[in-house]
């Protein structure tokens, strides 16, 4: 297997919400092989500090265009440098790395649970699920969602079919991103905010719990099939709640974990997560996506 390590041209790097950036990179090599849930490992400076690369999950990859997109929040030295990069500059990246979200052929009703910046890889996942479902159903393939930040009609036609359900939560209305894309991919999207500025006031896991207890709300119209898989990415309390609800409901669930990384390829053993059968697994190589029963201490 050949992995890309080199420079990619920045096509765009814009602030889409306070402290949250959307970067588009021209990198056909990574776009070609990327799967949802995988990440790229970015060197934020040519200088020796900050020393290590930053792992950022892929928010979209377009094979046809040869583009890879990421959405990141400025949290420290590395992401601050990244936010300062200008369109046209080159960026040193490695990837695509890690194991992403599996999309089994039997999936009828996937549920996606996202929290804050953790929603980023779920956009790529949603689009991939839509493609899988439509191609396996024999429908003509719809054009891809070319720009994840465009709203409304950017997907050609929004999928008519019901693809799945999304529960996403953000701190506040201003930080919401990706909702339109998720809708265009055929997902029913329920939004919540911590401060109640939009949608339900609370966490996406509250919505998931209600859904699992009561089924779809009457407003959702036609009754959808039972949930048969759950995907989640977000802060660790969100992941641990999803894990416990999923195991109670006996639904397979996949979560994407985050940890500081050094090598990003499984060589240094720096990003460990306790595995259910004792010992540790590598978040960068064995994950970052894990089936919830594989890992403990979520």
């Amino acid at each position: 297997m050949s992995l890309f390590c080199g420079h990619a041209k920045i096509k765009d790097n814009i602030e889409i919400a306070p402290g949250i950036y959307h970067m588009v990179l021209n990198c056909p090599e990574v776009a070609e092989d990327a799967a949802p849930g995988q990440f790229i490992h970015i060197r934020c400076t040519d200088a020796l500090s900050p020393l290590l690369r930053r792992p950022i999950s892929i928010a979209m990859a377009d094979k046809k265009e040869g583009t890879v997109e990421v959405i990141y929040r400025v949290v420290g030295q590395g992401t601050r440098l990244l936010a300062g990069k200008k369109k046209g500059q080159m960026l040193d990246i490695m990837g695509p790395l890690g194991h992403g979200f599996p999309i089994p052929p039997w999936v009828k009703h996937p549920v996606i649970v996202g929290g804050g910046i953790g929603t980023a890889p779920l956009l790529f996942l949603a689009e991939s699920i839509r493609e899988h479902k439509l191609s396996s159903a024999g429908s003509p393939e719809l054009s891809g969602c070319e720009d994840i930040m465009k709203t409304g009609n950017s997907c050609g036609k929004p999928a008519k079919e019901f693809i799945g359900t999304v529960f996403v939560g953000f701190l506040t209305e201003k930080e919401i991103f990706g909702a339109e894309l998720l809708k265009d991919c055929g997902f029913k999207v329920e939004i919540c905010t911590d401060d109640g500025s939009r949608g339900y006031k609370g966490f996406p896991t509250d919505l998931l719990e209600m859904y699992l207890n009561d089924g779809p709300s009457p407003s959702s119209g036609k009754v959808s099939p039972a949930i048969d898989i759950i995907y989640a990415c977000g802060p660790s309390p969100l992941l641990s709640k999803v894990a416990s609800m999923a195991s109670r409901a006996k639904i397979p669930a996949y979560v994407s974990l985050e940890e500081r990384m050094a090598c990003g390829v499984g060589a240094c053993l720096g990003c460990a997560v306790k595995s259910a059968d004792g010992g540790y697994m590598k978040i960068c190589k064995d994950g970052p996506v894990f089936e919830v029963s594989q890992v403990t201490d979520l």
Partner: protein, 314 residues
Amino acid sequence: MDNKSIFINICGIAMKNPVMVASGTFGFGQEYAGFYDINLLGAIVTKGLTFEPKAGNPPPRICETPAGMLNSIGLENPGVEDFIAKEWPHLSRLSIPVIANIDGDTVDDYHKMARRLSSLEGLAALEVNISCPNVEKGGMAFGQDPESAAEVIKAVREGTDLPVIAKLSPNVTSIQKIAEAAVSAGADAISLINTLLGMAIDINKKRPVFHRTFAGLSGPAVKPVALRMVWEVYEAVKVPVIGMGGITTWQDAVEFILAGASAVAVGTGNFLDPLAPIKIIEGLKKYTAAQGVRDIGELIGSAHLFTGVKSRFK
């Protein structure tokens, strides 16, 4: 293309270039095979192995520092038998020397490891880790005292006919005394440095970042210390020195060679740039050509000629 001017032979380990990858930063080789042909390297040193499997330390295991990083991995490894069953088959197919890094809780562990690994056909050498700062028993404790360092090296020497490389800890008062003790006990080469003991504190939790409080510092931040120690050990012993500590560029590698290293290893530098070892090899070829050096061996330790202190060439 092979370039004869940078061939080097260290205690019987023939390498087509003096650039190795340091133990613990390169897994068992496969991790980087997706980026380039690892047969281009001078040699590979495996992740540290112990007799029994080791789970390693609970996270967090790494913390970035100015121009460096701290690690507290805790020698996580599958154990020597699992290594032989699962990793040796692909490693043995490489065309370059593979060196096994070994670590033990007791002197006897090192002896058993040496015996077991010596049965592998094609293994190039043993690197004896008496310098890991991140384990409860053994490791660095052996490497901080000349007598215990000698005891471990002697036990390994008695268990193998392979070249024995002693990997030293910089966390000592006199690196020369430890190096001399290791060589008297039978070490064929010295590699240094392992990580420098350091720590970090989480100011929000108001407690050390790492469960074991102290961790190992590596990366460009440690380079001047590593270079000084290579310099000192070169003056103290007659065996070849393998230099490492913060090497990220070919210029760094040249400095180590001029200080007395017969070969160098890239460690943390792999994390910044997986292609760093390859770029260093190319840089060394260009440097030797530009300097009119026909054999890189001529450069080893040559900076000592200008200092008036004792050197093997003067």
